[in-house]
Amino acid sequence: MTTPEDIIDTLSFFDSWEDRYKYMIDLGKSLPPMDDALKTEERLVPGCQSLVWIEPTFENDKFSFQVDSDALIVRGLLAIVMAAYNNKSSQQIIEFDIQNYFSQLDLIKHLSPTRGNGLQAMVEKIKQLATSYS
């Protein structure tokens, strides 16, 4: 499974934006798609330009998430977020410094609420969930 360290290593290895974006798009393509039946209004995270859905499951003290977006680069960003949060305990999720992770990846601007991609709202939602289960 891809870890945050793998992603940091890979992305810092590229020196052109083309390679970085190709990698993110590949991550997006390899993110398992969500069942269309699950893509409901209730699972939608408020975004603006692109849609983001999330379906959390809590089992054996660990969270797992199904996530999806209608935009490919956002799917890539979701895969990057999932490397940090998927199959983790509430404690692990709460302790993970996502801001630092995204700034190391030089992707911090995508975590801004003004981006309108729903990513920030999704991260907030996951953290809230983790807090309520801890």
Binding site: E18, Y21, K22, I25, Q49, S50, L72, V74, G116
Partner: protein
């Protein structure tokens, strides 16, 4: 500062439109983004500012900063003179009959809300109808929804045809004795389609309705003549026509403005205040409560001077040349579908690339230094009507070039390679 009116300007020799020189008037065009030369194709959202506009703000704060209409001192007199000259400049720019018909606002949005909350509340009641179009920006929908909600009136949208053009026949079907107002955009921000406002104004007047034109997208592209149009209200923003943000204009016919109650209360808009009753100032001050955006007004006058030094029809021609060139190039990308075509339009290329999300395309263009807008363009009802989630909008101004159009298409090819 000068007092040259538009009329004087017309008799003066015009500056030759030299694209190289024009580009050097706009310092931001030399910026780099993501280590690439900026290609700014988001003029529909806001325009860039020429050095003369930037200097006007600077000059105001360096030499004239003072409150207007108040101080009995030299600086305040000077600031007031510049501020009021700017009003006359705007009056001539849109060929209004008098300076009293020019109300300073923060922009189009505030201008429209002003009309909704003053004229609207006085003149629109239960069972009355307001007509807008499916092409409108949210700014020309929501203020009317709020009004309709509170007075019990109905908001009726005119349909569009599949090419993005207004369905004029539907408009005439909606018009009736119940119609109190037609609020329509001069040019659609999302598609660049020019609406037949002259005909709409005539038709609306025949049933006794008033007409408000949202001119936010027209002011930077067309020569506007409110008397010839015979519209009742005309709203526009400085920032889309090379002036700063935070300044805009509401034009209204004088008899209408005179009869309208004030909106915001405060200083400047009063004649006499007492606890037994307050009387209001005359036009245009009645609608200008509080300290205005003085430097914004003065810089707006500088933007008008900038535009009017050229033959404006020549600039429009130049912009049309760009959009025609871009439209032709679009034929080379089979997946590209232009939204808003085969109709009267300005220099806006709104499109989708089938199989790609607009936001993804926008992000890949951004990496290549190209600024476009993606999404619903504050026109969600329009996107719904076209069954689209959004479009990619390249909106051109007179400082853009064919080389930039070429770069846009190279960048789109790259986006396609990445995303498809």
């Amino acid at each position: 500062m000068n007092n040259i009116t538009a009329l004087d300007n017309q008799t003066n020799a015009k500056r030759k439109f030299d694209i190289k020189e024009v580009r050097s008037d706009f310092p931001i065009l030399n910026e780099k983004v993501h280590n690439q030369s900026l290609i700014y194709l988001d003029n529909g959202a806001t325009s860039q500012k020429p050095q003369t506009v930037i200097d006007a703000i600077d000059n105001y704060y360096q030499h004239f900063n003072s409150n207007v209409h108040r101080g009995a001192h030299a600086l305040s007199d000077k600031a007031t003179e510049l501020f009021e000259n700017a009003r006359v400049k705007v009056q001539n720019f849109i060929r209004a009959n008098s300076r009293e018909e020019i109300i300073w606002t923060r922009g189009t949005t505030e201008s429209i809300n002003l009309v909704a909350q003053t004229w609207g509340r006085e003149n629109i009641g239960a069972g009355d109808e307001i007509i807008v179009t499916t092409l409108e920006h949210h700014s020309n929908i929501v203020p009317w929804q709020i009004l309709c909600e509170s007075v019990g009136a109905r908001l009726l949208p005119v349909n569009i045809k599949t090419n993005g053009e207004l369905d004029y026949e539907h408009f005439t079907q909606l018009l009736s004795a119940k119609t109190k107002l037609v609020a329509v955009g001069h040019i659609s921000n999302a598609l660049g389609v020019i609406n037949p406002v002259e005909d709409m104004i005539k038709a609306a007047h025949q049933v006794g309705a008033k007409v408000l034109i949202d001119g936010a997208q027209a002011a930077p592209h067309l020569v506007i003549d409110v008397q010839q149009l015979d519209c009742d209200f005309y709203a526009f923003s400085g920032h889309k026509m090379f002036a700063p943000t935070g300044i805009g204009v509401l034009y209204g016919k004088r008899d209408l403005l005179d009869a309208m109650p004030p909106w915001h209360g405060g200083g400047e808009m009063i004649e006499k205040v007492s606890f037994s009753g307050t009387t209001f100032n005359k036009l245009p001050y009645k609608f200008e409560a509080g300290t205005p955006n003085i430097e914004g007004s003065i810089a707006m006058a500088a933007a008008i001077d900038y535009l009017e030094q050229f033959d404006r029809d020549g600039m429009t021609e130049y912009e049309m040349d760009l959009i025609n060139y871009a439209t032709e190039k679009a034929q080379s990308i089979p997946e590209m579908k232009i939204i808003g075509s085969d109709c009267n339009k300005t220099s806006v290329l709104s499109f989708i690339i089938e199989g790609c999300h607009s936001q993804d395309v926008g992000m890949i263009l951004d990496q290549q230094g190209i600024a476009v807008r993606t999404g619903h363009h504050c026109a969600m009802p329009l996107m719904d009507a076209l069954d689209l989630k959004g479009t990619i909008r390249a909106s051109f101004s007179f400082y853009n070039t064919k080389q930039e159009v070429d770069k846009l298409f190279e960048a789109l090819e790259k986006a396609k390679q990445f995303l498809m």
